[in-house]
């Protein structure tokens, strides 16, 4: 139920719906819960609705933070 996946916006329709793509699979979803959305944005999709946009800079920051961890000694 709370399972949701990141998908890329491929086409915007009437302002209320968009076609998104996840791993090559396209799906029409509602974007009624988003303030604004553009083609190529990544959104979190849940039961046919985009819940939020994903922030690529924040994702990069998280990964950069993790890359500072020490190498595991073999």
């Amino acid at each position: 139920m709370c399972l949701a996946l990141p998908a890329r916006v491929r086409e915007l329709h009437d302002g209320q719906t968009a076609t998104v793509e996840l791993g090559g699979v396209r799906q029409k979803v509602s974007v009624a819960l988003l303030e604004h959305v553009n083609v190529d944005d990544y959104v979190v999709v849940h039961v046919g609705y985009a819940l939020t946009k994903l922030d690529p800079e924040e994702a990069q920051r998280t990964l950069a933070e993790l890359s500072k961890l020490q190498e595991v000694p073999s």
Partner: protein
């Protein structure tokens, strides 16, 4: 896939596990609230990567699991009414109700039950069947509530007179209150030192609603994403908070969650729903201000107003431990019917049915594993 693969990196997971082993010098009991997190912990074998001093307690954040039999029976009664089509999420279909009758069983006995992917599809069913009464069985935490709100407002806009909603939306903070205030927590039968906060719920409500738990109950909370790296990093953040004596709300899932949440969704939910005085939860009992119902101006779309739906509480099967599992008192493997009389194919309780239920997670990903104490140490990556 972007935002997925980079958070499943095995070498990075090993580094995080090594860091946890080095830093987790005390003893830690953390509850992951959300069933999606329970599944990720099991699916990726993350609990075996954790040092033995870090224990995960599985929480009640599975909407299918916490819905009590009484509410499911009401949905089944609705589906049996002549001229009604009940639209439901697939997850609900096999949950046993009273006398082990599920929606699926009711359908085989002639009830009109239709599986839908979401509320939008239920509206479509209503438009295509103007001579039928279509009811959407709306369940879920704050993640799902706004999607129902969109559909309710759309039905009202289109004046879809044959559409109504059987609303069972529940609130995460109320469940956390119930866990922390439980007799078992007060007596020390269960121990929860901190929480992994639900990531998708928080995309909607933000991280601010958890601040009172950090402040008043002195419990650290880290809102987490759902990939293995997310969870390991969140657990490390919790360990560090405890080591430092801090109790704060931290956000690991910054790529999707902001403190204020999705304000457009919150406004829509507020416009559509109001608090119920009380609501029964499976396992947690009847909790005040813990669930939502439609506002009175939307009564024409409220299935509980439109149809006569008497509520009869029904106790779980005496052999089923779902209640204790949802309260964090038992692990699925502590239930005496786990994997024998209760399996995903023939479930006795909701926790074995839902793709977010703890029992389903243990059954799918771990039932043949040796108990943790005997499990071999995780292999170090060659580096």
């Amino acid at each position: 896939m972007k935002f997925v693969e980079e958070f499943r990196d095995g070498a990075l997971a090993q580094k995080l596990a090594a860091e946890l082993k080095a830093e987790a010098t005390g003893s830690y009991h953390f509850m992951e609230f959300c069933g999606g997190h329970t599944h990720a912990l099991c699916r990726y074998g993350l609990m075996e990567l954790l040092p033995p001093t870090v224990k995960m307690v599985h929480g009640p954040g599975c909407p299918v699991c916490v819905l009590p039999i009484g509410r499911l029976d009401q949905a089944i009664e609705l589906a049996k009414k002549p001229g009604v089509i009940l639209c439901t999420f697939g997850d609900m279909m096999r949950v046993p109700g009273r006398d082990r009758v599920s929606l699926m069983r009711a359908r085989s006995q002639g009830a009109n039950v239709k599986m839908v992917f979401g509320s939008g599809e239920a509206l479509k069913v209503a438009r295509e069947n103007p001579d039928k009464q279509v009811v959407f069985f709306a369940i879920g935490f704050e993640t799902t509530t706004p999607t129902t709100a969109v559909a309710v407002q759309q039905a009202a806009k289109e004046k879809l007179g044959n559409m109504s909603f059987f609303v069972n939306h529940v609130l995460t903070p109320s469940a956390i209150d119930a866990i922390l205030g439980s007799k078992e927590a007060q007596e020390g039968t269960i121990r929860v030192d901190g929480f992994i906060g639900p990531g998708h719920v928080s995309t909607i409500i933000g991280s601010a609603p958890y601040e009172r738990f950090a402040r008043d109950a002195r419990k650290p909370i880290v809102v987490s994403g759902f990939e293995p790296i997310d969870l390991l990093q969140s657990i490390l953040m919790l360990v560090r908070q405890m080591n430092d004596g801090r109790a704060e709300v931290e956000n690991q899932f910054t790529r999707a969650v902001v403190r204020e949440g999705n304000q457009k969704a919150q406004a829509l939910v507020n416009e559509t729903f109001e608090l119920r005085k009380s609501f029964e939860w499976r396992g947690l009992g009847t909790l005040p201000d813990s669930a939502l119902k439609l506002r009175p101006y939307l009564a024409a779309y409220d299935a509980e107003v439109k149809f006569e739906l008497p509520y009869t509480p029904v106790a779980d099967h005496p052999a089923c431990s779902c209640g204790e599992i949802l309260r964090g008192l038992k692990k699925p493997t502590d239930c005496r019917i786990f994997g024998t009389a209760c399996t995903p194919e023939s479930p006795m309780g909701s926790c074995m049915v839902s793709p977010e239920g703890s029992c389903a997670a243990y059954y799918l990903y771990g039932r043949h594993r040796a108990p943790k104490e005997q499990a071999p140490q995780p292999r170090r990556s060659a580096s």
